[in-house]
């Protein structure tokens, strides 16, 4: 009988490692040649190895934070010109004559790069020299649920793999103790839920593993009462030995995957608490992120966890935070949301940079679309105004991973309605993300139901301007 340690090291030699999730993804169903799941080497030299996507659910208002429009302020109250009115796609506004609405927030140029950020985002303003802004991102669907899906999967309906799954499919995972694609949520969850980090038709090991946003961050991590310590270890060892025996009898490769699962699960029982234990973080770090109580779930804590995940080799970390959907009372709710997120978002970039992790990590900040340059008046009398959804142009920012720091890309027209230059459709964004990771979005394909699928479907142009 071999000891637990030798058993685990034996199995992990053979089973863990870079290609593990890809190779072992197919369960007993087989039916697909194993090679399909093999992790692929990048198509060319990558700029980044990891991704952190800070998905701002509900569509943040770019006109109040990142895309100043003095002309819009001047024309406050004017009707939206007919040329725009003819083609605008509102989600909620029913007004026949919607009126332009400027921003009450002061904008200023920041950093050496002189990029514009409003007073709502002072911490982000402090790191603009690390950021590349794209003001002309473009979505299609004005519905949150489908907008999210479009941004997360490149497809406006359910069923397709998410970006994180595609990345894992392409590059595999480098973490032996944690899943390669982890999801953190705060505030309101995405409307289309797990579909935002689902594997779709890709193998299930490529799905995002969500941390619980309340209660225990990972379910069933704790050994049940009475089995702590040796009992659990001896049980897991016996499970794997008996499984190995069955594997030798049935030759089923699915059992190898099961053994690897128990192996990783057992390691997660010790690695995940360590991951989630923030007591080793310095006061200064916690302060930088704005974490008052490390025991309390928050966006700030998730940002810190994101860094810890990247440190531990997790390939793709996605944060979802909501809700930025300010149809009404925007001047009260928007500052509150900025307050909740600005400091931590900026701290994450700074923290990654000072630990030497930023160069390898593509950081993405943005929502499923943006908000409109006209006022949305509430149905309820007396309720303050807000902004409706807007898909034609909105702002996202990027950092790390070869991104051109301090650059600003794309111009919108005088009222911030439409892109004048550089349209970056969601498909272009996706093509560019993959490019940053060394993958050609046209070659990262997966055959399903008789056809080759891509994250970008039949679209997408790589926008090399994003990179330095």
């Amino acid at each position: 009988m071999f000891s637990r340690r030798t058993f685990f090291s034996r199995t992990s030699k053979g089973l863990a490692g870079v290609a593990m999730p890809a190779l072992l993804a197919a369960d007993a169903t087989a039916g697909t040649p194993a090679g399909v799941y093999q992790a692929q080497a990048p198509h060319f030299r990558p700029r980044a190895r990891n991704v952190i996507f800070m998905f701002q659910i509900g569509a943040p208002s770019q006109l109040d934070m990142f895309d100043p429009k003095p002309e819009l302020n001047k024309r406050e109250g004017d009707p939206l010109p007919q040329s725009f009115l003819d083609r605008v796609k509102f989600a909620q506004i029913q007004d026949k004559q919607p009126q332009l609405m400027g921003t009450p927030y002061r904008f200023a140029r920041h950093g050496e790069s002189g990029q514009w950020v409003s007073e709502l985002m002072p911490h982000t303003a402090g790191i603009v020299d690390q950021l590349c802004f794209v003001h002309t991102c473009q979505a299609e669907d004005t519905n949150h649920m489908f907008g999210e899906l479009h941004m997360s999967t490149g497809w406006r309906r359910f069923g397709r793999p998410s970006i994180g799954s595609w990345v894992l499919y392409g590059l595999g995972s480098e973490s032996e103790n944690l899943p390669g694609f982890m999801v953190l949520r705060s505030g309101m969850h995405p409307r289309s839920k797990g579909a935002n980090f689902n594997n779709g038709f890709l193998p299930a090991t490529m799905q995002g593993t969500p941390l619980q946003s309340s209660g225990a961050p990972i379910l069933n991590l704790e050994t049940p009462a009475g089995f702590e310590g040796e009992s659990q270890a001896s049980t897991v060892e016996a499970i794997n030995r008996l499984n190995a025996l069955r594997q030798s009898e049935t030759a089923d490769p699915g059992i190898e995957a099961r053994i690897a699962s128990y192996d990783l699960a057992f390691r997660m029982q010790s690695s995940a608490p360590e991951l989630l234990d923030l007591s080793g973080e310095t006061e200064e770090t916690l302060r930088m992120y704005g974490i008052d109580d490390p025991g309390k779930p928050s966006y700030a804590r998730n940002c810190l966890l994101a860094r810890r995940l990247i440190e531990r080799g997790v390939r793709f970390v996605e944060l979802f935070h909501g809700d930025w959907d300010h149809h009404t009372n925007i001047y009260k709710r928007l500052p509150a949301e900025c307050q909740r997120t600005d400091q931590a978002s900026a701290a994450l970039v700074t923290d990654l940079a000072r630990r030497g992790l930023l160069d390898d990590t593509l950081v993405i900040w943005g929502g499923e679309f943006g908000r409109s340059s006209v006022a949305q008046k509430s149905q309820a009398p007396g309720e303050p105004v807000g902004r409706d959804h807007h898909v034609d142009a909105f702002t996202m920012w990027f950092a790390g991973g070869g991104v051109a720091a301090g650059r600003s890309i794309g111009e919108t027209d005088d009222i911030g309605f439409d892109a004048v230059t550089d349209r970056w459709h969601i498909h272009d964004l996706h093509a560019t993300f993959l490019h940053a990771l060394g993958m050609d979005h046209r070659r990262l394909t997966y055959q399903h139901q008789g056809r080759d699928y891509r994250l970008t479907d039949v679209h997408g142009t790589v926008k090399t301007e994003l990179f330095a």
């Binding site: 369960d27 007993a28 050994t223 699915g254």
Partner: protein, 811 residues
């Protein structure tokens, strides 16, 4: 008592074949092997439409004559045949098929062997280019299988024939113990009890297996197992979905499904009732409940058209195996479905309105009506009193002013307002004040709740009722841009839809149902047979199982599929069809992967090991440990789930944990909040329930292992199992046997016995060293007079066995 089982050979090779398969089957079947290749790769350029380089391969004479450069096939000489040279070419510019993937080695080999054999079977192919799945279903001739007694029914004859062409053999019959557990898990979704196991294993009758099949088909749990498959495609849930995800009461539909499977409702009726049970001549509550099928679409007030889209798309995927949804915005790009035809289908469902149906019996209905009438009478009297007060308000105020005691400042101020200056609000407040002082009013008001006391909440379920309204095509699928008006109707490329035109100008949902189950429909029986096959074999014969459109290539075994479809049509019986499948030798093959090695996926027609579905996984643990409460049907229940699952919902939802036996009901009765389903359901690939799910995936990730190891439900099952072993079995050695039998349906082999003994000894040592651990490990299941440490060791051993891959797998 069961130790004798160990003497059963572990691998029971019941290869019934009289003669082993001859290895030299050098015959190549033109129809089965060659033609599909020619169709897929050659006819497009060398067929009816085009004859590149003068070559035409779909006509015998032309194919033999060759093209501009002479003959392409020389009988008996593949190496000298241009066809072979071109498909083998390494030069992309000359290799055939041009601008396409290279033929696989085995495909090339088929063509070479065929040419070597002198191109037997070459014929004029009457290829109209029509898609295989749209051709009528005809019973194919059953192949004769002279050299074997392996086949048990026609399925096997087709499978044998196919295998023999590839020089392959079927896998041996699975071990009896594996078979019995396979049958139980596949047909009823719970493992056999010791008695059930023994009854089969000790039954000497030659048809013991068939008898077991019949017992299981007659079990009330057959409807649960197969009903749950159907609920996947029906996207059943106990809430409406979208952000609001409001609760809905529709579990009667779930129970209707279970009943229908148990009663073996004729398949055609099963379909017709679900689509149009409210519109049948003899409509009853039972047939109306069936229309819950399309009430299951997600629903949100603002986007009703999305629900109707979903009804159309689900109908396409489930019954026809077609991706209708492409027609929402434009004509289908590949299938012959126009956008207009999509909206003709839409018209069927557009008139269906979700309506609660009260299922209370007449007695209760009458009681409720009576009570409501009494309440109405009281309300009328109350209103009358208030009117009287209002009419005499001045006198009342004048009289009450005399006795001001106990009156608030506010009331006094009201009294002081002169009658002609009173606002409506003032008046209302005065009336309220005086009615509170009115003795009869007070008494009547207080009596109201009692009038309804004792009456149960109305027992409703959601059904469809028909409310005619016009349907317009949506331009580019945009519901804000209605186009041409359309009437209900079926797509023209399939068989015609007939209905009683004298009764209604346009067909209704029930007519659509009849059209679907029509024998002329080439799709319904094929799609259904294929999906049933998938449930029992893991992979379907046609991939993908929900798209039989033009894009989808020939089935792995077209004739087998048509045989199945034909048999399904003939019997019109789900139970008979399942019986046909599970009594085949094909079904009874061993699932050991060894027998699969080397067989190309496209040819594999054997068994495989399948991880149990989310609900069955839990049912299995509860059943083995004796915790399962096996009652069929009823309202959904709320077993344990971890905290925090329902947090952050747009609209709050409750999860009041069920008490007593309801905590141990089968997983299919667990309440389904569509937006936030039970985490174990999600963890083990339960369907998303946003749209129809015709096939679940089977993932294998680490967080699943965490669930099986540490989730309180599974720990409790292990605790109950530990107690069971202590209570029911006298010695430690027999306990291991018993545990294996209860969990795996077989006794342990020697190695296992030894490993588990060692584990047991180790665990007992651990628990004897720490009594507190032992007490916690046993939980609330300490047997009378038992030593906690000894029992805890058995809980730990049970936990181990209940985490084995074999335990969560149907082999």
């Amino acid at each position: 008592m069961f130790t004798h089982l160990r003497s059963l050979p572990l691998v029971l090779l019941v290869l019934l074949a009289g003669t082993p398969l001859a290895h030299a089957v050098d015959k190549v079947d033109f129809e089965l092997e060659v033609l599909p290749l020619l169709r897929a790769h050659c006819f497009r350029c060398h067929g009816r439409e085009k004859q590149e380089a003068g070559l035409r391969l779909d006509r015998r004479e032309a194919a033999l004559a060759g093209g501009e450069n002479g003959p392409v096939m020389i009988a008996g000489k593949p190496a000298e045949s241009m066809l072979v040279e071109r498909i083998r070419s390494t030069d992309d510019s000359t290799r055939m098929p041009i601008e396409s993937r290279q033929l696989r080695r085995e495909e090339i080999s088929v063509l070479e062997r065929w040419i070597a054999a002198g191109m037997p079977g070459l014929r004029d192919v009457d290829d109209t280019g029509e898609h295989w799945a749209f051709q009528p279903i005809q019973a194919p001739p059953v192949p004769t299988t002279p050299k074997t007694s392996w086949p048990r029914n026609s399925i096997d004859a087709f499978v044998w024939y196919q295998l023999s062409l590839q020089e392959l053999e079927p896998a041996p019959r699975a071990d009896k113990g594996v078979l019995v557990r396979r049958l139980f898990l596949d047909l009823v979704g719970i493992p056999p009890t010791l008695e059930q196991l023994a009854r089969y294993l000790e039954d000497p009758a030659p048809n013991a297996y068939e008898q077991l099949v019949d017992r299981l088909l007659g079990s009330p749990h057959f409807g649960e197992r197969w009903g749950r498959h159907w609920l996947d495609v029906a996207r059943y849930a106990d809430s409406a979905g979208y952000e609001a995800d409001i609760p809905r009461r529709i579990w009667h539909y779930r129970d209707w499904v279970i009943r229908s499977f148990n009663q073996d409702k004729p398949l055609d009726q099963f379909v017709i009732e679900q689509l149009g049970g409210d519109l049948l001549g003899g409509a009853t509550n039972e047939t109306r409940v069936a229309t819950g099928f399309h009430c299951n679409a997600m629903k949100d007030g603002g986007v009703r058209h999305e629900s109707v889209f979903d009804r159309v798309n689900t109908t396409g995927a489930v019954f026809m195996g077609l991706t209708f949804e492409c027609g929402q915005c434009h004509d289908h790009k590949t299938d012959p479905l126009t956008q207009k035809e999509y909206y003709q289908l839409y018209a069927f469902f557009n008139t269906g309105v979700i309506t609660p149906l009260d299922l209370d019996d007449e007695d209760i209905k009458k009681q409720r009506a009576d009570a409501n009438a009494r309440v109405a009478a009281v309300d009328a009297r109350l209103a009358q009193i208030e009117k009287e007060i209002e009419a005499g308000i001045d006198q009342l105020v004048a009289a009450r002013r005399e006795n001001r005691e106990g009156l608030s400042e506010g009331i006094l101020a009201l009294f002081d307002i002169p009658a002609d200056e009173r606002s409506l609000t003032d008046l209302k407040q005065l009336v309220t004040f005086f009615r509170l002082e009115h003795a009869e009013h007070k008494q009547l008001l207080e009596s109201k709740p009692e009038l309804l006391a004792g009456l149960p909440e109305a027992d409703t379920t959601l059904t469809l009722t028909d409310h005619p309204q016009p349907t317009h095509l949506f331009v580019r699928g945009d519901h804000t841009q209605p186009g041409e008006q359309v009437q209900s109707g079926a797509p023209a490329f399939l068989h015609p839809l007939t209905w009683e035109k004298e009764k209604r100008p346009h067909p209704n949902r029930a007519d659509l149902g009849r059209w679907i189950v029509d024998r002329e429909n080439p799709l319904f029986a094929r799609v259904t047979a294929n999906r049933f096959w998938m449930r029992l074999f893991g992979i379907p014969i046609v991939e993908p199982e929900n798209d039989f459109g033009v894009q989808t290539p020939q089935p792995r075994h077209h004739q087998l599929l048509d045989e199945l479809a034909h048999r399904l049509q003939q019997s019109n019986s789900i139970k008979q069809f399942v019986r046909l499948l599970v009594t085949s030798a094909t079904y009874q093959q061993s699932s050991d992967f060894t027998y699969r090695r080397g067989i190309p996926d496209g040819l594999f027609l054997g068994q495989q090991r399948l991880r149990l579905e989310a609900e069955i996984l839990r049912d299995n643990a509860l059943a083995a440990s004796g915790l399962l409460e096996n009652r069929v049907g009823g309202e959904s229940v709320f077993p344990y789930q971890p905290e925090g699952i329902l947090a952050f919902r747009a609209t709050p939802a409750t999860w009041t944990e069920s008490r007593g036996a309801d905590r141990y009901r089968r997983g299919m009765y667990t309440h389904i909040w569509r937006l936030t389903p039970h985490p174990m359901f999600t963890l083990f690939d339960g369907p998303g329930m946003t749209t129809s799910c015709t096939r679940r995936s089977r993932s294998n990730v680490a967080v699943q292992a965490l669930g099986l190891l540490n989730d309180p439900t599974f720990v409790e099952a292990a605790q109950a199992m530990g107690a069971r072993l202590i209570d029911e079995v006298p010695s430690d050695e027999e306990r291991i046997d018993r545990l294996f039998l209860l969990c795996l349906g077989r006794a342990p082999n020697e190695q296992e016995q030894q490993m588990v003994s060692e584990l047991h000894a180790r665990q007992q040592e651990i628990f004897q060293g720490d009594k507190n651990l032992a007490t916690a490990a046993v939980g609330e299941y300490l047997s009378a007079g038992a030593d906690p440490a000894r029992q805890a060791a058995w809980v730990a051993v049970s936990r181990t066995i209940m985490n084995l891959d074999e335990f969560i797998t149907r082999e």
